[in-house]
Symmetry: C2
Subunit: 219 residues, 2 copies
Amino acid sequence: MSFTTTEENYIKAIFHLQQEDGTVSTNALAAELHTKAASVTDMLKKLKTKKLLNYEKYKGVRLTGEGKKLALAIVRKHRLWEFFLVNNLQFGWDEVHEVAEELEHISSKKLVEKLDQFLGYPKFDPHGDPIPDSHGKMAVQQQINLIDMPLNKMAEVSSVGSQSSELLDLLKHKNILIGTRLEVKKKFGFDHSIEIKIKGQQPFTISQQLAQALFVKLV
Amino acid sequence: MSFTTTEENYIKAIFHLQQEDGTVSTNALAAELHTKAASVTDMLKKLKTKKLLNYEKYKGVRLTGEGKKLALAIVRKHRLWEFFLVNNLQFGWDEVHEVAEELEHISSKKLVEKLDQFLGYPKFDPHGDPIPDSHGKMAVQQQINLIDMPLNKMAEVSSVGSQSSELLDLLKHKNILIGTRLEVKKKFGFDHSIEIKIKGQQPFTISQQLAQALFVKLV
DNA sequence: TAAAAATTTTAGATTTGTCTAAAAATAAAT
DNA sequence: ATTTATTTTTAGACAAATCTAAAATTTTTA
């Protein structure tokens, strides 16, 4: 069985949304895919006949085992290509997302396995997200949200909460990268902003929104 | 301006066909693309409005400068990816064509340039075909058809006339690869078959059709 | 050069993924 | 517990790329 790029994008979007919510609503999917609810309904019916998801009208949707398998295969490709783009082709980690969105739909199974081997079976992509292996298994990273970090402990930025270009822009401006080491010096209850310190720089304050978009691991 | 995969496949097919014929007929295109003449007519009208080709009904078709530029960009991507697959991912040179047919439609300009750089600006792909550079220029290879080789001169197989799996199958069976060195020992006028010798092997005979599908350079 | 053959184009239909507008179902609020 | 608001689905239409069958054009051949 093979799938169109559009079908794959639906499966991937459902996969990501159901991590948080369990079942996914038509409107949430429409928003995620920048399309309309009516289009989503049509596609859900189609994907149901392909046994990729369980769908009852007005009840929302969840992926079947098959659907999850497909989603993981797509995520695997996406993250492997991102790793390749950054590590081999010298792309910046903040400019690979769109290209990987295209590359993830290349169908050859052999290509994925050869690429994985060539890259040395990486476990995490350049954003710090785990890369599913050929069986769909992902390493679990003991990362926590920056907002939850204890004070004065050294932490390393390991992933970001989204790939929005606004976020990546802000991080670039603040000189925060995957791998950047920092400490939380102070938390302000008023607006939940936090003060952080990067070695060799003056401490500075970041907003609650930004802190929540950053994941770190203790070092 | 951006183009669909289908549009790009039409442009590429016209480009290849017009190398031989100058102008390309509707039926020839339909055969090449495994589609019907009526579909070709529709698409030619569409591509004409996009200024990629000159088309007058019943008169056949030729690419414009713009069309050629696009065709060369696609050929460039195809051959760079083939090079990558064979040289870096350890694919056999006879199994990369289909994957490259998909990869050639990835749109990122930056990806192509970074890939080219990563690969070391290769001039020829694994089939011996020249890779257009970023300006569309190709190295000219002083290769001749095996059928035209003088007797008893050492030659090296540098490219094959087509990527048909039947041809690749036959070559594999006869143990002929890109880079294989051989001499033509005898030519038979009756059926235009030729006897060739590969070092360390008994001489054997190949058909006119096969000889015409092989290009060599003198060494 | 006129009839036959081949090629090419048009006309109308189909499939995929999308849309808008209206109807149906569910959830929220008074 | 009705009314109101929100969400979701249906109905009908559209654009892209394709098809078949029939008509138009060009080429071949007698």
